[in-house]
């Protein structure tokens, strides 16, 4: 009786003290895997939105940034290192980087969030959910190929034959090719499909892109081509050819125009996905999201350089005009 009473009282005290001890705050470690610096806009947008959501860098989250600068080998090495470092989550900003991260995290439960994947169908089971450790946003770059071609026709209605450059080693090579072919057929356009694997090859092929050969140049979302876009811009201006691209950053570097997702906005959108994952939702259960907004960006300087007058109907729709 005596022992029971004392044990109950002491037990109650211990229970009360034990249950009122505070929990320690976790600092998340996020690895960012990038193929080229062209995609870094999305990561910047991601960090900004994360901070707004309360994930302040150094306090609640720590970022490890890896830029492979176009090298697939380096990219895969970075991906493996992040897994060895046991990061809490990996964010990527291209389909190529996402493929590398997905491969490296196989057999682990490290979530991979792609902030912009041009062709997510390659990575996930369906848009309703990846079924794996992947989640993210489709940049829909392949999907809106038709919109870009339509824009090109609006800017230069005479265009019928277009030079399209593509890296056959790219993960989206076939998808880009098929999308261009399909939309070309619908919009009565023909393509000169040029396969390039390096800057050297691009430099070699660039002089052949003349006004006599083609009516315009089109660059799909491709890392190899994007890395050497300056060569193509120079050739386009020289030959006064409209150059339609798939990245806002390329327009900034001299391409005529693009219709594409805002990568900074995609990064912000991706932060919400990461927040959900940190709050306990499985990546496999999250739908693949689409960009909230596509931007029509026109470089008026380039337009003037190639002797093109931008129609008013296009100009009023432009989200960004570079002068």
């Amino acid at each position: 009786m005596k022992k029971t009473v004392l044990a109950l009282l002491l037990g109650s005290l211990l229970f009360c003290f034990a249950s009122s001890s505070p929990a320690q705050q976790k600092v998340y470690r996020i690895g960012s895997l990038n193929t080229t610096e062209q995609f870094l806009d999305s990561f910047e947008g991601f960090k900004a939105r994360m901070a707004e959501l309360g994930y302040h860098e150094g306090q609640k989250v720590r970022y490890d940034l890896y830029d492979a600068k176009g090298s697939d080998e380096v990219l895969n090495g970075f991906a493996r290192r992040m897994v060895q470092d046991k990061v809490d989550l990996i964010v990527t900003s291209s389909t190529t980087a996402t493929v590398a991260a997905a491969e490296a995290t196989k057999g682990t439960n490290i979530p991979v969030v792609f902030l912009s994947a041009g062709n997510p169908q390659k990575l996930v089971k369906s848009f309703a959910g990846s079924g794996t450790n992947l989640a993210g946003i489709s940049a829909a770059t392949v999907e809106i190929t038709g919109k870009r071609l339509e824009l090109l026709r609006e800017l230069a209605p005479w265009v019928k034959h277009i030079a399209a450059l593509n890296d056959p080693g790219s993960v989206n090579f076939k998808a880009n090719l098929n999308a261009a072919r399909e939309e070309g057929k619908r919009q009565r356009l023909t393509f000169w499909e040029i396969e390039v694997r390096s800057r050297e090859e691009i430099a070699k092929v660039a002089p052949t892109l003349t006004r006599k050969a083609v009516d315009a140049i089109y660059t799909p979302p491709d890392s190899t081509v994007t890395d050497s876009i300056d060569i193509l811009v120079q050739q386009a201006i020289k030959e006064r050819l409209p150059l339609m691209t798939s990245l806002r950053a390329n327009v900034m570097r001299g391409c005529l125009a693009t219709y594409a997702a805002d990568y900074f906005a995609l990064g912000r959108q991706g932060a919400l996905i990461v927040d959900k994952i940190f709050k306990g939702i499985k990546p496999s259960d999250l739908p693949i999201e689409l960009p909230s907004k596509f931007k029509l960006v026109i470089n008026l300087k380039t337009a003037r350089a190639v002797g093109l007058k931008i129609p008013r109907a296009v100009l009023v729709r432009a989200d960004e005009v570079i002068e």
């Binding site: 009282l9 009360c16 919109k147 009023v316």
Partner: protein, 800 residues
């Protein structure tokens, strides 16, 4: 702190006051605190739920308004487009541009179409794909067209596209005048921003919101996977309430029930007017009431602390109460151990001190009672000791005079009387004579030696059987009345007492005790002297009986001696007679035998018959004489054992010859069953043969027809052999079985015919077997036959 003292304070045994106080005190204390804690907890719980209800309702209303506003803005935007487009030709580039501008300026819209009054798409633009005129379709059969053509706005149910995002289709009429509808503007609006709105709602510590449509299907939740699974939430409490009252408000917000996470939640719903949707807010109960839990834990802590303090207070108080009680208990133990001088020292100034005083008084009385009791016990012990001494003295001898003298001596020793005298009745019980005495003046008392029955104190007491005690003969008038001789006074004595001497309710005499000084005899002294007088009576009676027994014994001894002499003379006579009878009888038998065998010449058949009769009856007579002789020798213990070791087969052979002679006329069938390999036997072979001859002879004697069977078998387990002689003769009556082995016992009809005899055969058999350490038994049934079975050991015990 003295730890031992502290532990002693908490030490109690089962059923103690301290334990009871602690049990009841803590129980009542605990119950009161638990009730108060529960009441506080319930009150706080209700308060929190009330606050949660207010908060949830407020947030839900705000969110519902936001959603409603969102949709309304979408409709307004589209209506603005319709108004602008109405100024241009249907399907014109301007209309297309206006549609594209809407896509640019409103992120929610992803696709816009303009339908003509036939329902045919004339403009169709999308933010993601290109629609060529050839791909325009007829929408005349759609709900959106039908409703918008009536001049009303249309909002479709929520659906998800192939890209897993929620959409609604909005359609508004395209009017050129307020009443003239020339077409419809329709657009697809992405509701993902609503997901964001809903997903970002967080209240309390874990509150969240979601949106359901008019069928209870989930259309927005922070976990989009639930929406994409097209989850039906019609089973959830708050959704059920909404479906029951689609346009009403939640009458009991923050109700407890199962939520979307299948755990108890506090939930509230608010309908989104005009859309048939509802915003549901939920907060897990365990989170919402976490504060209550924390308070409950503190309450438990407080409860434990108060109980600890209460326990300490009760222990302290109970110690104050029980300490004097324990002192009393200790006192009781000391007194029980024999220390009757112990007094409890209790100075509490309350009822317990009174109890202590009472206890001390009780101890004092106990001491007094104990002392009195001891005196009584001592007195009684002395009495018993005295009585024992007298009894022991009385039983030491059976000589009456000697006993009486010794008893008087003891009485004088015990009581210190000056004179003690014992008078006993004479044989005729007419007078009492002095039989023993102790006197200080024997010469005087020589004159007073006889009393007539009823005369004086001696005679009266002997007659009445009642004791008389006169403390002072000089003052007691009874003395003058009763005394015949006045000898007491004359001897100068003052005290006189007389006690009857009794045995078996019969007065045998009187014991007189006298003293020089007047004396008071206590009742226990009177009782003791009466008992002593009774013991004297017993001793006298025993002495008398002893005398009688002694006399009778002497007479019996004499008679016995005479009988022994007579028996010996009889035996000697019988032995001599038998011997003397046998000698001439042998001569008769021998001569008759010679004559029958024609030793002295031929004889006639009649002579032969007569000789046969002479021989048969002579043999019988010889047998009788032999039996009598044998019995006589047995009784005179002159029969000895002639022990030898022999084989039973030899004895059986002799007996078979004897049996054949008896069965000379072959009237009976004689059967022999003798076991093979019987062991050699060490006993008297002749007596065994005689036993068998006796039994077989009897069998022939009592069997007229049938069989006689003799069996011999070994009993190796017992170390004995067994013989049995069975016949089919007349048998023995049940009452005769017990006497069959008695001397001279004969069955009825045994004196007639061939059954004649003196009844000694079986008696001799039994006696022989006793000598051979054997046993015999008989089984018989009248008119069916008898079986005599006897056993004896392989070797008699003293055979060596």
């Amino acid at each position: 702190m003295d730890w031992r003292k502290l532990t002693k304070l908490f030490h109690w045994k089962s059923g103690s006051i301290r334990r009871r106080l602690l049990t009841w005190g803590l129980t009542l204390f605990g119950l009161a605190l638990i009730i108060s804690t529960l009441a506080g907890s319930l009150y706080t719980r209700r308060l929190i739920k009330k606050e949660a209800a207010g908060l949830q309702k407020e947030i839900a209303l705000r969110v519902a308004e936001e959603i409603e506003d969102f949709v309304r803005r979408k409709v307004d935007r589209l209506s603005d487009l319709a108004a602008s487009a109405s100024l241009d030709e249907m399907g014109s580039e301007t209309q297309r541009l206006l549609a594209l501008l809407l896509l640019k300026n409103d992120q929610a819209y992803t696709e816009v179409s303009i339908l003509d009054d036939k329902g045919m798409e004339v403009v169709k633009v999308s933010e993601r794909r290109v629609y060529l005129p050839a791909e325009f379709s007829d929408q005349s059969g759609s709900d959106k067209f039908a409703k918008a053509m009536k001049g009303e706005s249309y909002i479709s149910p929520v659906y998800t596209s192939d890209r897993a995002e929620p959409y609604i289709t909005v359609a508004v009429p395209l009017k050129i005048t307020p009443r003239t509808v020339v077409g419809v503007v329709t657009a697809e609006a992405n509701l993902k921003s609503l997901w964001e709105v809903i997903g970002e709602i967080a209240f309390g510590r874990a509150g969240y919101a979601y949106l359901v449509d008019g069928q209870g299907n989930l259309i927005a939740h922070r976990d989009p996977s639930l929406v994409l699974k097209r989850t039906s939430l019609a089973h959830i409490h708050a959704v059920q309430e909404f479906l029951r009252h689609p346009s009403g408000t939640d009458s009991s917000p923050a109700q407890e029930g199962r939520g979307i996470i299948n755990k108890p939640v506090l939930s509230t719903f608010v309908p989104v007017s005009g859309l048939g949707w509802a915003v549901i807010l939920e907060e897990p109960v365990h989170v919402a009431l976490a504060e209550v839990r924390r308070l409950e834990r503190y309450a438990v802590l407080l409860l434990a602390a108060v109980l600890l303090m209460g326990a300490a207070a009760i222990v302290w108080a109970s110690d104050r109460i029980t300490k004097p009680i324990r002192e009393l208990h200790r006192g009781a133990e000391i007194i029980a151990a024999g220390d009757l001088d112990y007094r409890a020292q209790i100075r509490t100034g309350d009822e317990i001190e009174e109890l202590g005083e009472q206890f001390n008084r009780m101890a004092m009385k106990l001491k007094t009672s104990y002392a009195t009791l001891e005196q009584r016990v001592e007195s009684r012990t002395r009495e018993l000791s005295a009585l024992y001494d007298v009894t022991a003295t009385a039983s030491q001898s059976l000589e009456a005079e000697q006993v009486l003298q010794q008893v008087i001596k003891k009485i004088i020793e015990i009581f210190g009387f000056d004179t003690t005298r014992i008078f006993l009745f004479d044989d005729r019980r007419e007078s009492l004579d002095l039989r023993a005495s102790f006197e200080t003046d024997p010469e005087f008392w020589m004159q007073v030696r006889h009393f007539v029955r009823g005369q004086g104190f001696i005679g009266r007491v002997a007659e009445s059987g009642a004791a008389v005690v006169i403390e002072n003969v000089w003052t007691d008038p009874r003395y003058q009345q009763i005394s015949h001789t006045k000898a007491t006074q004359r001897a100068g004595l003052s005290f006189l007492s007389a006690f009857p001497i009794k045995a078996r309710e019969k007065t045998l005499g009187t014991m007189l005790c006298q003293g020089r000084e007047p004396r008071h005899l206590a009742p226990e002294d009177v009782r003791l002297l009466t008992s002593m007088a009774e013991q004297i009576g017993v001793a006298i009676q025993n002495a008398n009986l002893f005398g009688e027994v002694k006399q009778k014994t002497a007479e019996l001894e004499r008679a016995n001696q005479e009988l022994i002499e007579l028996s010996r003379a009889k035996s000697e006579f019988m032995a001599a007679m038998s011997h003397e009878l046998r000698t001439p009888l042998n001569v008769i038998i021998g001569n008759a035998d010679l004559i029958r065998d024609r030793f002295f010449g031929e004889i006639t058949p009649k002579q032969r018959d007569s000789l046969e009769k002479i021989l048969r009856y002579s043999q019988m007579l010889l047998k009788l004489i032999n039996d009598v002789l044998a019995m006589t020798r047995l009784e005179a213990k002159k029969m000895s054992m002639d022990v030898s070791t022999f084989h039973l087969e030899d004895v059986v052979d002799h007996v078979q010859t004897f049996a054949e002679q008896l069965n000379y006329n072959h009237n009976l069938k004689m059967l022999w069953e003798v076991e093979k390999n019987l062991p050699p036997i060490t006993t008297d072979a002749l007596k065994l043969e005689e036993i068998l001859q006796n039994l077989i002879g009897n069998a022939f004697k009592f069997t007229l027809q049938g069989t006689i069977e003799v069996r011999v078998r070994d009993l190796p387990g017992k170390g004995r052999v067994e013989f049995s002689v069975a016949d089919t003769g007349i048998g023995i009556e049940r009452e005769g079985l017990d006497k069959i082995f008695d001397e001279f016992y004969q069955q009825k009809d045994a004196h007639t015919g061939s059954h004649s005899g003196v009844g000694l055969g079986l008696s001799i058999v039994k006696k022989y077997l006793e000598m051979m350490q054997g046993e015999i038994r008989v089984e018989s049934e009248p008119q069916k036959g008898s079986t005599f079975t006897f056993t004896f050991p392989y070797a008699i015990a003293n055979a060596k």
